[in-house]
Amino acid sequence: MAYYLLKRLIATIPVMLVVAVFIFLLLRLTPGDPAAMIAGDFASEAQVAEIREKLGLNDPLLVQFGIWIGNIFQGDLGESFFFKKQVTDLIMARIEPTLSLSVVTIILTVSIAVPMGVVAAYRQGTWLDRTVMAFSVLGFSIPVFVIGFAFIYIFSLELKWLPVQGYQRLSEGVGGWLKHLILPSLALSVIFVAFIARMTRTSVLEVLGEDYIRTARAKGQTETKVLVRHALRNAAVPIVTVIGFAFAILIGGVVVTESVFNIPGLGLLTVDAVLNRDFPTIQAVVLLFSMIYVLINLIIDLSYTVLDPRIRY
């Protein structure tokens, strides 16, 4: 197991290097000049050239890459062209809203989707099953921003229960933090609930036909125990895989939700950085997202050994 873990961790290094080279070259080949964006509309050519020189953008690409990658190995992700702040600090400031949104969304998703899927499988073919499946199709079909605006209209503008937009840091109070997260998390969770409920239903359905379920029932186990201890646990591997991917997608891809609810997370930081060609920030955020994907994949793989004792690395 330890050897497997070490092997997987070492394997991440070439993956990250490929990502680093790719994103570095992609940004340099994309049209746009951060110096011109920084200088503003009135700046003369000399002013723009001065800024370009200061930012090191006139150096050969190989030199720029060497400096950047060398700094990364020393734990320095560089300084944002625009904010004059360390990219690490910017990411740290923006990671809390994104992580909060992702964690609350995943908690909501799992607590709704898994029971829904299990019940749908247990009551296969009944109105309950059909309702869950209909919700699944609906959840997939409605874009998240439409759900977001609908929730805002109902819960914020009409009922005035929850704030329309914004984010409050956890350090400023759990109440405000949660209040600002409920609507965006609910809006985001709809599509994941739809997906995970469907996946849970399919997995549990497969397991419910197995001999050991019949044996468990024959031994006099209650239906709840049969479903939770025997069916769900054995159906857990694909469900956990999907939940893991959902979490990774949430961390790297909640731009629309962050925009609709004005949550200053990593998604909005990335969009701003791309529009302004803030190379150090884009590079760092993309590397971070890649690392999160790799690590979540690793955690998912390791979780299989817990869920299914037959799996050994």
């Binding site: 049209p31 746009g32 009135f42 904010f83 503008l157 937009q165 925009s259 200053p264």
Partner: protein
Amino acid sequence: MFNVKRRRVLAGVATSLALVLGTQGLGTAAQAETNLKVVPHSGLKILDPIWTTAYITRNHGYMIYDTLFAMDMDGNVHPQMVDSVERSADGLTVTITLRDGMTWHDGAPVTATDTVASIKRWGGKDAMGQKMMSFVDDLSAADDKTMVFKLNAPTGLVELALAKPSSNVPFMMPARIAATPGDEQIAEYIGSGPFMFNNEEWEPGVKVVYDKFDAYVPRDEPTNGFAGAKVAKVDRVTWTPNRDIQQAINALNAGEIDIIESTPPDLLPLVEEGGEAYTQSPNLSGLQYTFRFNVLHPPFDNPKIRQALLYAFNQEDFLEATIGDPNYFQVCKAMFICGLPFETDAHMDGLLESNFAKAKELLAEAGYDGTPVVLMHSTNVPVLTNLAPVAKDLMEAIGLNVDMQSMDWSTLVARRSKKDAPADGGWNAFLTAWDAGDLFNPLAMAFLNASCDKALFGWPCDEQIEKLRDDFARATSFDEQKAIVEALQARWVEYPTHIHLGQWNTPSTLRNNVTGYLSAGVPVFWNVEKN
């Protein structure tokens, strides 16, 4: 047993949630200070208003810095940090005395040494500042309160340039900060304005907090534009940008924010429906749309073909396509902005009226050979997006061959600085908008600079325009300046550097309990009360 435990757990969770959500209200009630919550037009990223010309940084500058002179709503210049100005009989020495009682946000007194250093830093960066400094042989502090300008020729530019309302605004900073080289950003944000920058709470691009500067001593005169008393009437101002203005309006109607700096006219019905807010423009003169030529390459290297567009274009089409609501745009043939002192429509008869016959005649005279016009089309700035398609239609109507290339604003900004031929990655034309404060005279108007390689992208090159701009700088009376402006407009018709396509503004939206918002020319938050 299992059920009892589960009920207890559920009850516990419910109670905790209720307590947790309940504390939010208590937290809000405990805040006694008045906090004006503003949605600015973008996130504040750069804090040095001399280092960048970005409007959001200029607006930040107005929050924390003060200026020596300031313009009122009619464009007249008044002393602001200044007590008195004396000019020698030969006009070559200008002595400026600072007013009493001014301190920096760190408590140190404002001295002439500080203001001299600030003028020098600004004068090294800003185009109008550079022009003013070209008249200055020596600028020094005679004592703590007195600055002396020794000029090499008489000019009316000193007060006019130091009252420049838009980027780069000559903001005053302590000498140690103003000593920062112009090619480096300042690292301390200390001014002497009515609000202080709260460095602790600044979240780049997300939130900026300004606290009231209690030691600020306002002028005695009534507030008028940027001039007169600047009285902070709220304890703090918080800027939190929101890229989705529809959502910002929802938040405003729900009472979560107080002011939206810029509201697109098509969303104003939402404000009216909400009934919680009203609109007011921070800038009555607004902005001006502009079509910029690149004179380095055919076909626009030929002034006659550029003139053809003066006849082909009309302002209504551009304004209708972008702003839509006539309450928020104004057709204005005056280059130097309708409503400001140098407004004149001299020599503009028959122009900007889509006279296609005349335009075609000029194209024929110029011998236009079908050379394609590479028109850059910016797609991600909503107020600019519809301009290029309108320009394309009007140009094609007179027989120009237009190759409109769509791109995001960052790409356009990078490409417009390229002097290469359009076929090799260069360009022929693009459209943008300028704040009226950037266009109020021939020296401020950057697109009128026709100094060839030293001019802004597009690089117009015309000795007569440059001579007239220099004459303007040397003029010492308004009448003299106005006559030069008219002569400039006449020369511009013969040698168009750009085409102005009408004025427009997007109003601010304010909750009904917010009063005193000024139409200064830039969104400013002194004088604003929140009841």
